[in-house]
Amino acid sequence: MRHTVSALVENKPGVLVRIAGLFARRGFNIESLAVGPTEKPSISRMTIVVDVADRPLEQVSKQLNKLINVLKVSDLKASEAVERELSLFKVSAKPETRAEVVEIVDIFRAKIVDASRDELIIEATGTEDKIAAIENMLAPYGIREMSRTGKIALARGGRKTED
């Protein structure tokens, strides 16, 4: 079972290692982790996707909440949150296949952000499923390299993570 945990933390040195260390120490496996500033410069948001197959999520949130630099922890359910990932694919695109690759880019509303003689760099955003789908479609042409951000998320509607 996987969960998306959103944590608001003080933007201070060492906070990331405290959180990552806690997950490791308490036996939880982090699948992805994204950190960035929020609307308040003193606060960062961490979005952590965690596999909680063996241990209840409640223990993770409680232990996270105990860290002095952690302000708020919430479990974001997919149906109640907007979740996005950003990914970059460097794909082989020889003149004979380039048109097909461009078509895939259009279907997924992705973007070509760099082009060279034999390769394109494609930027795609979306849910995890969408990223997986475009990856799947691009694979036959040869994905030379890829980079993914890890998931970021916000609660839908008027609800704030702090609430």
């Binding site: 933390v9 003080e10 040195p13 060492g14 290692v17 405290r18 260390g21 120490r25 409640e58 223990q59 409680k62 232990q63 909440n65 105990k66 860290l67 002095i68 630099n69 952690v70 302000l71």
Partner: protein
């Protein structure tokens, strides 16, 4: 007011009411010791090993309820504190550890005596600081003491690069804390308190299971009152000893692996366990799946993460034990008074029967036995203002069994981490914190040898600690496991080769040495030690074959307890 960071640190510590620091100097820490030397409010005690400094600060906190402070230099000084910090963390002891660090510009260059101590200690501190701006020193010290001593207490580390302690800053005597993410729950939810009272009244075989949280929150009077008002039998953990006087008729003594048979039977047959400031540690529960199979749970703890961690709880109450137990007494008092007869009167009869059938006892054939020694130490100190500390091993468990702890903060032992060598440092720390008290360290020959160098500290500061070495010439607890579970292959537990002459050792450190070999010599020796008001080593020469019983074998349930020492097998091969 302009001053150095080091001086600002000392002034900030003075502001927190610090009277004693246990420490050890070193290159990067000189500037701090330089200023400490001039302080009129703080006494710095020079230990002989940093680990001892940390344990002494820990025990000082346990004995006094104040925050203990230890201090060491960068690199090896800091890493030598690690065991002591881990010990304080496991037992939730309020402590501030201050380490020096190489200069800010040298961090990360593998400089001489550099160790990433904030990194190393990350899993064993409640919080830590690496000072990056000397003007923040007063605020950091204030926050460190606040964090260490509130909520679930624990150790806080301050790592101070040498350029920070030497730079000139404007000292702020009243800094403002900035801890937006730290809000420990204090007051328990009233509805939950009512639900707990209702559940207690509906029970038939209730047991109170009190842990170190009761001692830490100074809730022993409230806990004892709760037991008296409700007439509920009460067992404590090793850390909870003193939560209720152990000579009280409601006390069941300690539960768990080496707990009393009647405490373990009570738990196993209970229909309601009221856990207060306790965390269902494996040494308490044995095999978790067979622990208290018929019981519901009320769990009172200041740390929400403890609720439901090991057992499923029916009524959780998060907050300070002192406040919640007082509220519970208030809630239940009138209803208890209205009862025509005690619903758990038959339960009491059952427990009395268990107490009769399986008392805490031992068999003696006239030889000097450790249990007898400990009983005599208890008899000699029970009417005194006394503190008992222990090392870790068999002697510790015998002490837990045969010292009846009558008051909180008078039994000091390493629980969660089980740190051998805790005895001498904890005696030192307790004696510094409680100068009027008679302090006895019940120790083992193995435990003592880990820290014997700090007898020098006792002599240097005239600390009249009484170190009682129960010398069976074995690493006795491991030996006991080898005897019972590892085919009697006594691998590397025989301490006979190289065993020092403890009387000469006492003499070498300027302490009094008394060797005791017969039961009749025990009480006179203890009395002589108390009277001497000097550091004293009492060596009790005991047999090596004595085991700690009852014992719940590792991995087994409390029901599978071995009640007493198995008879030695006679004859045959």
């Amino acid at each position: 007011m302009k001053m150095t960071g080091a001086k600002a640190l000392v002034k900030s510590l003075e502001n927190e009411g610090v009277k004693h620091i246990f420490g050890y100097p070193g290159g990067r820490l000189i500037s701090v010791h330089h200023e400490l030397h001039e302080s009129k409010k703080i006494q710095h005690l020079l230990m002989r090993h940093e680990q001892v400094a940390a344990h002494a600060a820990d025990a000082y906190a346990r004995a006094t309820g104040k925050v203990g402070v230890c201090m060491a230099t960068s690199g090896p000084g800091a890493t030598n504190l690690v065991t002591g910090i881990a010990n304080a963390y496991m037992d939730s002891i309020p402590m501030v550890a201050i380490t020096a660090q190489v200069g800010s510009m040298d961090i990360g260059t593998d400089a001489f005596q550099e160790a990433d101590i904030t990194g190393i200690t990350l899993p064993i501190v409640k919080h830590s600081y690496l000072v990056k701006d000397a003007t923040e020193i007063p605020r950091i010290v204030k926050e460190a003491f606040f964090i260490a001593s509130t909520g679930r207490p624990g150790p806080v580390l301050i790592d101070l690069p040498s350029d920070m302690s030497m730079s000139q800053i404007e000292y702020d005597p009243d800094p403002e804390m900035s801890l937006p993410g730290y809000k420990p729950t204090f007051k328990g939810n009233n509805r939950q308190v009512k639900a707990a009272a209702k559940m207690i009244l509906a029970s038939q075989r209730p047991v109170i299971y009190a842990g170190g949280g009761v001692i830490l929150s100074n809730a022993a009077p409230e806990l004892t009152k709760l037991a008296h008002v409700t007439r509920i039998p009460t067992t404590t953990t090793l850390m909870g000893k003193g939560a209720i006087p152990e000579d009280d008729e409601l006390s069941l003594g300690m539960l768990g692996m080496h707990g009393t048979a009647y405490a373990n039977h009570a738990i196993s047959n209970s229909d309601l366990i009221i856990a207060i400031g306790a965390r269902f540690d494996d040494r308490v529960t044995g095999k978790l799946s067979t622990f208290a199979p018929h019981a519901k749970y009320i769990h009172i703890d200041v740390d929400p993460a403890e609720i439901g961690k090991n057992v499923k709880v029916d009524v959780p109450i998060v907050g300070d034990a002192k406040q919640i137990v007082a509220a519970l007494v208030k809630e239940i008092k009138d209803d208890m008074a209205k009862l025509e007869k005690l619903p758990w009167a038959p339960w009491h009869d059952q427990i009395v029967a268990w107490k009769k059938k399986h008392p805490l006892t031992y068999k003696s054939e006239g030889e000097l036995l450790p249990q007898y020694v400990i009983e005599q130490i208890y008899e000699a100190t029970k009417n005194l203002d006394a503190v008992i500390t222990t090392g870790v091993g068999q002697h510790q468990m015998w002490a837990a069994q045969f010292v009846k702890t009558l008051k909180p903060r008078t039994f000091i032992s390493s629980g969660g981490l089980g740190t051998m060598g805790f005895g001498v440092p904890s005696a030192l720390g307790a004696q510094v914190g409680r100068p009027e008290a008679v302090v006895f360290d019940i120790d083992g020959d193995g435990s003592f040898q880990m820290v014997s160098q700090d007898m020098a500290t006792a002599t240097a500061y005239d600390l009249p600690i009484n170190i009682c070495i129960l010398n069976n010439q074995w690493l006795g607890m491991v030996r006991q496991w080898q005897e019972l579970f590892w085919d009697k292959r006594y691998a590397y537990t025989d301490l006979t080769p190289g065993m020092p002459d403890f009387m000469k050792l006492a003499e070498a450190y300027g302490a009094q040495g008394i060797r005791i070999t017969k039961p009749a010599e025990v009480m006179p020796a203890i009395k002589r030690a108390i009277k001497s008001k000097r550091p004293c080593i009492l060596e009790f020469v005991i047999t090596g074959e004595q085991g700690v019983f009852p014992m719940v074998p590792p991995g087994k349930g409390l029901q599978d307890m071995i009640y007493e020492q198995p008879e030695p097998q006679k004859g045959g091969s």
